[in-house]
């Protein structure tokens, strides 16, 4: 074989030597082609490092397409998510409120009232001054935290707080919030206890 003539290392004490030659082009090209195909495969199946995408789902969009998108339970889950992002910071994820920050929602007569008209006004307009919640007096100011939320989201939050932590009251629909919003007029004054009591339940 001609390869053997190229051997250049000095053989020392019977140790093996290697013939010198460069790797041929074809195997390097094969490697690169495999890398390229592998890249395409990765692009199509990996979900690009998304921690929620598992095979057989191939991408975040593919997974999203198989999500159930209706039903009361879905609204509840959405309400919980929004509540924890917006309201839970002060009222607590357990709805028990925080002394000096916000009154409890769990067991609050305002939350579980038969109608939700008064309740809905609080996040829409904000609240100021003294208010009695679950037998305790609170004097806190709350900004109109819900004014910027879409109708459906606010409805979902209200539905959630009316049914979580042992509360049991009826659900709120997006259309109800729409009606309440349109009936509010242009005022931006926060609600007070008296103003709430003046409006229908």
């Amino acid at each position: 074989m001609s390869d053997e003539n190229k051997s250049s290392s000095v053989p020392s004490a019977g140790e093996p030597v290697a013939t010198r030659s460069a790797a041929p082009m074809w195997i390097i090209v094969t490697t690169l082609v495999l890398l390229f195909i592998g890249g395409i495969y990765f692009d199509r199946h990996s979900g690009w490092f998304n921690p929620k995408v598992y095979a057989p789902y191939t991408s975040a969009e593919n997974l999203e397409g198989f999500q159930p998108q209706s039903g009361a339970a879905a609204a509840l889950a959405r309400g919980k998510k929004t509540y924890e992002a917006v309201c839970g910071i002060c009222h607590g994820p357990d709805g028990l409120g925080k002394p000096g920050q916000a009154p409890p929602l769990a067991g609050s007569e305002w939350v579980v009232a038969k109608g939700f008209n008064r309740l809905a006004h609080i996040p829409l307009m904000g609240l100021a001054g003294n208010i009695k919640v679950a037998g305790k007096d609170w004097s806190m100011n709350m900004a109109a935290m819900g004014a910027a939320l879409p109708d459906d989201d606010l409805a979902a939050v209200l539905t959630y707080i009316r049914s979580a932590w042992g509360n049991q009251a009826s659900a709120v629909e997006g259309d109800d919030i729409k009606k309440i919003r349109s009936g509010m007029g242009g005022g931006s004054q926060p609600m007070t206890h008296d103003m709430l009591m003046a409006m229908p339940e």
């Binding site: 140790e15 030659s21 592998g38 690009w48 598992y54």
Partner: protein, 478 residues
Amino acid sequence: MNLTENNSSCDREINDSLRVPLLALFGGAAVWLIVGLVLGLIAGIKFHAPDFLGACPVMTYGRVAPAANDAVLYGFCIPAALGVALWIFARLSGQPLALPLVPVVAANLWHLGVFIGTAGILLGASSGHTWLEYPRAAAVILFAAFMLIAVSAAATFGWRRQQELYPSHWFLFAGLLWFPWIYSTANILLNSHQLPRGVVQPIIGWWFANNLVFVWLALVGVGTAFYFLPKIAARPLANSGYVLLAFLTLVFFGTWCGIPQGAPVPAWLPTLSSVAAALTLVPLLAISIVTLKTVCGSNVSCKGGPFCFIRFGVMSFIVSGILYVSAACPQYSRILNFTWFGAAQTQLQLLGFAAMILFGAIYELLPQVMGKPLPQPALAKAHFYLSMIGVLLFFVPLVLAGVVQGEKLADANIPFADANTAALKFLRVSTTGQMLILLGALLFAVNIFIMTIQWKLGIAKTVIAYIKSPLETAEVKS
């Protein structure tokens, strides 16, 4: 001639420095190999008679099977590979082993670690992660022992006379770095009081298992084969360009394999692994080309000699690599995952590839180190044929069992029990294969122990002769 004299005195120094460490490493390794194979046989029999030794919690299948695998890998493959690597480093450096006492201590430490580990698994102290079952105490000892041997090997490597490196250097030296890194990472994270959350554990476990059983064994096995094949054939190793490519692609792509398809982990992990597995075909191809070019045309009459062992080992490596890649292929993995196929691949990697190459290497180097031929060369020959037939009878039925079982499991209309029974028929044959491998390993141990005993008797004789010799003569001599 002056040069030859120099060489032979140098050879003698090298052999003298290696004798004690290698006997310590190989002797213990032979014991563990037999322990591992006996435990493996017990585990195999349990599939035909579920209640065999069933009254004894120590002999539960779930304990015996991992103890058997670990004894073969940690008890035999790793110390034997380290011994062979020490020898190759010393030979290629043209220098006696550096710090020769260190590997002697380390070898005994290592075998102590394997003992604690095996006992730990059998008593129920397994960590529960595949290939990491050894309890913490054993893992610490094994790590320390490896580091000691690695220091001696690296020092021998560093003090080499000739600066130019031979391809085996790349593989074996990379192996020295590989093991401490993966073993410490995996044990710190998975063998601790507070484990990482959820599936992070198996992900790290798969990374470790792949890097140990696939990459590390490939590094030391192929490195050893690339030393002995050209040496025995008295030909140069063909085409170093292919070898370099094989080395680089093996370490860069092989290390990313191992996360199985369909595992409960985000899709990017198994996807990355299957891409890497496809790329691992490149080193497999390059290694087969180099081996073919080196071996073909050489007229070594090896009839069961070291050359046969090593050639068979490289062939097993290629087959085992192809099985590994096909199991990572998404279409096949649906069928092959969770079946005997995986076990078949692992056993071929351990017993067909790593162990066979190490047997060959030990049969080749031990007579040189001891300065006398193998006491029972016929047994070594028989060992080869027993092992070869045993490995084939062991893994081929397991592969078939895996495919049959997988196809039946993929059809939900076939009851689970039917899939199981279909696989068990094949397992009967593979248990026979296990027995043959065990028989071969016993012959191997016989040769090693006879050599050790002869050597110890030799030492004893010298000592006695020295004591008995008249005082004056000793004084005159000195």
